[in-house]
């Protein structure tokens, strides 16, 4: 097994382990290892324990909340756990380090009929990382988050004794589950049920499956070594649309009409880019990609899936009716059916976060330490308009440069702030907290898909009571009594 020891050697040979997509700086560690087998991983756990080094698990390092960044201790990278095979039951078994791109590539060779639905945009994310953050993405509007596609997990808990947990093997009854190796696990009682799309704190449902505790646990309960994932039959046809209504009133009416007709339309995704995004994309145009049409006030990207051409035709006729009803001119509705056209629409949507990141890197070269702030809250979709307006008001009042986009169909928005100086950074932090409060007030969550990591853990008290947080900590200690895993991630935030 490859092991690198010493802070200096780490900086020299694998400094990339200290950076992810959260743009947080200041990560460091004493050692790093790349085990391939459960035995090697267990051996490494043991030697780290002997050396007094707690372990942070590192996947594809695409995380946005900074959960994979160590603050001392040791790092265990999953990048060499890359076995992958189709099982007799039609599921796929993949090692933790298999990236989503590799999985897609493998599946396209192994089966032309099936695919793995979770698609959190960034394809260098790993199976282990997406399971551990319960990743979502735009298609989770129809398919739900990663959780829905996990059949069984192979986990190395802090004890070092390998576990295989299959759905329906162990379930919680009235918040309690007894497992031969893990002992008795007790879920905290929550004052209110967690919202449907949520990655803040452990997944808690009094009658849930034990696998669901590990999914989304962000490397705090065990190393996910391997996952058995369910696949889905590919739909006959897909269409990507982008509607550009001319004013925000029309945008919201259209949004609600799409939501109401989700089944008739066969909606797989329903997204949003607000007016600032449109302005930003217009100004920072990407070569080869069309700019938003003049006069667009916002964009409503949608993905439709249908069994066959006739079904698609019906869906498109419905969209056409809506265009007439809402007075949207023909050139304000883009569509992609052919792969090349669909790729352009995908690129158009991805151009936004990329343009934001470019702008931030430019700023950072002038003012070191500057980073992007992004909210990850979600609210019930029917209340999205109010939540959006509230976010806007908060950011405008604080005089910040911002743009808002996200998975509107799930009531989930990323308000991104581009601070221009340290003073604005602190205002941006304030804004994020304020926005998180508003999301919770509306019955939603502080984090819907990125997880807590180091960035959002501090918001936990907004969403949960002290008893609830303590209950989660107790659950964690039941599996990891001496804080061996993910020491930098404190569920209740640094107190």
């Amino acid at each position: 097994m490859k092991i690198i020891k010493g802070r200096k050697k780490i900086l020299e040979l694998c400094v990339d382990l200290l950076y992810d997509e959260s743009s947080l700086s200041g990560a460091w560690c004493e050692a790093a290892a790349w085990p391939e087998t459960p035995e090697e991983a267990a051996g490494y756990f043991e030697s780290c324990r002997a050396d007094g080094l707690p372990v942070t698990i590192s996947g594809g390092l695409t995380g946005i909340a900074g959960g994979a960044l160590p603050q001392g201790g040791a790092v265990l990278s999953t990048s060499r756990m890359n076995g992958i095979e189709i099982l007799d039951n039609g599921n796929v078994r993949a090692g933790a380090g298999v990236t989503l791109a590799e999985l897609r590539e493998f599946l396209s060779r192994a089966s032309s009929e099936h695919f793995y639905p979770p698609d959190p945009t960034e394809e260098t994310a790993t199976v282990g990382g997406t399971v551990s953050t319960d990743a979502s993405g735009s298609d989770s509007f129809l398919y739900g988050s990663t959780r829905n596609w996990v059949e069984s997990l192979t986990i190395l808990p802090p004890s070092g004794k390998l576990l295989k947990i299959r759905r329906n093997d162990y379930t919680f009854r009235d918040g309690t589950c007894r497992h031969p190796d893990l002992g008795e696990l007790v879920l905290p009682a929550l004052r209110r049920e967690q919202p449907p799309k949520n990655t803040a704190g452990y997944h808690i449902r009094p009658e849930m499956d034990l696998t669901d505790l590990f999914i989304g646990s962000e490397g705090t309960l065990g190393l996910v070594m391997e996952a058995e994932l369910r696949l889905r039959r590919k739909p006959g046809v897909l269409a990507d649309l982008v509607l550009f209504p001319g004013d925000s009133g029309t945008f919201w009416e259209l949004f609600h009409t799409f939501l109401e007709n989700r089944d008739r339309l066969g909606l797989r995704a329903l997204e949003m880019m607000d007016g600032k995004c449109i302005e930003f994309l217009g100004a920072e145009s990407t070569p080869g990609l069309p700019s938003p049409p003049p006069g667009a006030s916002a964009a409503l990207p949608a993905r439709i899936e249908a069994e066959n051409d006739r079904e698609l035709e019906n869906a498109l006729l419905l969209v056409d009716d809506l265009m007439t009803r809402f007075g949207i001119p023909p050139d304000m509705v883009w569509i992609g059916l052919e792969p090349a056209e669909r790729k352009k629409i995908k690129d158009f949507r991805h151009a936004l976060p990329e343009a934001v990141n470019r702008r931030i890197s430019m700023l950072r070269s002038e003012i070191p330490g500057i980073h992007k702030f992004g909210s990850d809250g979600a609210v019930p979709p029917v209340t999205l308009e109010t939540y959006y307006e509230t976010c806007r008001a908060i950011l405008t009042d604080l005089d910040l440069e911002f743009l808002i986009f996200g998975h509107a169909g799930q009531g989930h928005l990323h308000a991104n702030v581009l601070p221009g100086n340290p003073e604005e950074m602190s205002r941006a932090g304030e804004a994020m907290r304020e926005i998180a409060r508003e999301a919770v007030k509306a019955g939603g969550t502080i984090s819907a898909e990125h997880g807590l990591g180091r960035l959002k853990a501090g918001f936990m008290p907004i969403m949960y009571s002290r008893e609830e947080i303590e209950g989660m900590e107790k659950l964690r200690r039941a599996i990891d009594p001496d804080g061996f895993l993910a020491p930098a991630l404190q569920i209740g935030g640094a107190s």
Partner: protein, 261 residues
Amino acid sequence: MRFVVVVKQVPDTAEVRIDEEKGTLIREGVPSILNPFDEYAIEEALRWRDELGGSVIVVTMGPPQAEAVLREAVAMGADEAILLSDRAFAGADTLATSNTLARAVSRIGDVDVVITGKQAIDGDTAQTGPSIAASLDWPQVTFVGKVRQLGDGVMVAERYVEDGCEVIRASLPVVITLLKDANTPRLPSLRGKMKARKMEIPVWGIDDLGLEPGKVGLDGSPTRVVKVATPEASSGGEIHRGEPGELAALIVDRLLGGEVE
């Protein structure tokens, strides 16, 4: 103003694999796409039509399934589409292809501008445009990076060549081959796509074009393919696998050690 854009259906070369033994392309199972350069040709015609009025007619020569690329062009906004398809057209080289396309342009009639892509990503010869012009006896401007002016019987265009830019004034009708610099192609609109799905596309064969068998297809093709060979890769590359840090260190060592220039 009346524009004809000739477009070609090509295999998606990003997906093409090579038969290692025979040295030929494996075309089976490879999706067909609109030649990427031709999207720019369509876009250019649409922009000038939107500005000056008139119509855009797209034409392709190919087997029946090639009509898919015509539907893509209609979805983007082309007014009409014509498929040139006939068993007699099979096996055409660039000369026979452009003879056939040129005849279609004549039959359409009153055409002011023919636009082609810079080249096809499969055949790669970039001969079709110039050869159509020769066949029609029209002026041609190749490698156009920008059409500056169009109307009143003239076109002014910028030709991007290796050592600069030539500004050319040509009388109409004219044939141009277009570079990707000229514009950014639009995405199809929903209405365009729906129109395209329903549109009946006329098919013209050898009789419709009034061509003789000896002028089209294999019989009209003087080119003989003597041998197809895969060029030798010029230098042996090395593939190293590992962690980015390690790999970077390895490259730096090699560079400093003077092993690589």
